[in-house]
Amino acid sequence: MAAVAASVAGRPPIISLRGVTKVYGAGATMFQALKGVDLDIAEGDFVAVMGPSGSGKSTTMNILGCLDVPSGGSFTFRGQHIELLSRDQRALVRRRYLGFVFQGFNLLARTTALENVELPLLYRGEDRKARRDLGMAALDKVGLANWWDHTPAELSGGQQQRVAIARAIVTNPDVLLADEPTGNLDSERSVEIMELLTDLNRNSNITVLMVTHEPDMAAFARTIVHFKDGLVERIDQGHRSGAKVEA
């Protein structure tokens, strides 16, 4: 019953879920959020994850983001079994290969855009100059180079989300995970963010995984994965990424 996305050009998938389950709580309050998810993500793909509320989209994203571990099944990233890693090892996978964008932006308050963007580099042990250069380059990519010394309170929602994207891509990750990145933005701002993600996917070769409720936003993706009741219900492929731009 599980659907498996075909890999692009026959290459092995960068991410592979097999029979992944997730159980929250125990006893009477026990709840099975994922019931055996099989999913392959091809390197370089732009994937939108859709589905009704409570269908397990965020749960899946948290597992893919190495923020959480599956209760059962296997999760391989570039062939490595993540479910066997320790908490700190998973943190290092996040640090090296992944970037996150959240619905609520999640920037550090009272901290300039540049310092927010530099944060992952700090944990990577980059020196001051490298942090500055890479940080400014990332801000430039999202079109906010002139706003580098503004704090989140001084930025609009769209700008904050772009700073968050700059922070996610500053380390040049393999995969960018975004859980409802446009959930807090109006449609105009949302389109800007989607164009940015499309650009990163195409020109920076970053695999993008994005949860969204809006078909308009999902239309930017090349692959759409539909969730229902803790399972992958259907995968739509062959979308032309960026098709919406001309419309």
């Binding site: 983001g65 908490r87 700190d88 943190a91 996040r94 640090r95 992944l98 550090l108 944990y123």
Partner: protein, 401 residues
């Protein structure tokens, strides 16, 4: 790794200056209080010891009466006679010298300046009991002493107030209405816990007895004890001798008292040390309270900053890095507090020293200890909140509102 943590901690402190300041206030006050108290206590002890030392070490003071405070009621016990002085000097083993003193008070006048002071009549043996160098001029000669000539040696305070730095030796001043020739000026001994020793005029004892007190009584004997002898043994021998000479028998108590300056010094040092201890203990409690303040605010801060911790974890910080950041933050804060506390303590000591009549004193040891303790407080009270921050689940932390 540590560099990164340090940068993060400093940034976080800078971003929340008011919170940081309030967090560290307890440490600032605690360290300032402890260091100021210990330093002032030490300074007081030093000053007490100095002023007692200026009375002479190995010096016994013998006075008629029963000592401090207990004089009331009954006839005043008689003063000593010259024969008592001679007896103590000759019959007691270990006595190096005995200086009798006859005292009077009077106003000294020179060219319109006047100064009320104490006139101390003594013999040259006072120099054998405890040396007192001259600033200028000379001591009186044995001939002048024997004749009771009206020559006087000025204590430094009297000299400063009457002559204001001018030439005194060779002049003639009046004291209690009687003229005397100034032959010397003594060096300053300094202010002490027993009043100003330099506020005195020294004359041959016979001159004071004849012209000022009108009798041959001796109010005070200063006994210099040979350092080869224990002062307590010498003190006991003198007591026996004087009881016999003053016909005090059986269980009757002495009508004179003998002070051992060393004993006074020890007693006073003991008192100041004890007082310093008590005050320091109180201050130390405030330091502990300050530490708990740090812990409290750090804990609140963990709750407040849950989302921040979630973000850090999500972008790849490992638990140890989050722990270190909070720990370093606590340590930096409390050490900064300690440093500020040390500075305030120095200001307090500088400010209070004159009022307490002690010299400014910098005690590196207590400063170092207090600084180390402030760091330790950071470690101890920062650890618990830091561990809590590090153990948070990133997803829960991110979802935290």
């Amino acid at each position: 790794m540590l560099g990164t943590t340090f940068i993060l901690a400093i940034r976080s402190i800078r971003r929340h200056l008011l919170r940081s300041f309030l967090t560290t206030l307890g440490i600032v006050i605690g360290v300032a209080a402890v260091v100021a108290m210990v330093t002032l206590g030490k300074a007081t002890t030093v000053s007490v010891q100095q002023s007692v030392a200026s009375l002479g070490t190995n010096v016994l003071q013998i006075r008629p009466g029963q000592g401090f405070g207990r004089g009331g009621g009954g006839p005043r016990p008689p003063d000593f006679k010259q024969s008592d002085v001679d007896a103590v000097a000759r019959q007691v083993a270990g006595v190096k010298a005995v200086a009798p003193q006859a005292q009077a008070t009077g106003t000294a006048i020179y060219e319109g300046s006047n100064w009320s002071t104490t006139i101390n009549g003594t013999t040259l043996s006072f120099l054998d009991v405890q040396p007192w160098p001259l600033q200028s001029g000379r001591y009186f000669t044995p001939t002048e002493e024997a004749a009771g000539k009206l020559v006087c040696i000025l204590g430094n305070t009297v000299y400063q107030n009457l002559y204001r730095g001018g030439e005194a030796v060779g002049t003639r001043m009046r004291i209690a209405g009687i003229s005397c020739d100034v032959i010397g000026v003594l060096t300053a001994r300094g202010q002490g816990g027993f009043g100003d020793q330099d506020d005195t005029v020294i004359m041959p004892i016979k001159a004071v007895q004849r012209r000022f007190s009108g009798n041959r009584d001796i109010r005070l004997m200063l006994v210099g004890v040979d350092s080869a002898y224990a002062t307590s043994t010498v003190q006991a021998s003198i007591e026996d001798l004087l009881r016999e000479r003053r016909n005090i028998t059986g269980g009757k108590s002495d009508d004179f008292n003998i002070f051992d300056t060393k004993q006074i010094s020890d007693t006073l040092t003991g008192i100041t040390t004890a007082l310093t201890g008590v005050v320091t203990a109180v201050a130390a409690i405030s330091l502990v309270v300050g530490g708990i303040g740090i812990m409290n605010i750090m804990l609140v801060s963990v709750t407040e900053r849950t989302r921040e911790i979630g973000i850090r974890l999500a972008i790849g910080a490992v638990a140890r890095e989050v722990l270190m950041q909070f720990l370093v933050e606590a340590i930096v804060l409390s050490m900064l507090g300690g440093l500020i506390g040390l500075l305030i303590a120095q200001l307090v000591v500088v400010g209070l020293s004159p009022a307490l009549k002690v010299d400014y004193l910098f005690d590196p040891q207590i400063n170092l200890i207090a600084f180390a303790i402030s760091g330790l407080i950071g470690v101890v009270f920062g650890y618990f909140p830091a561990r809590r921050a590090a153990s948070l689940n990133p997803i829960d932390a991110l979802r935290h509102e």
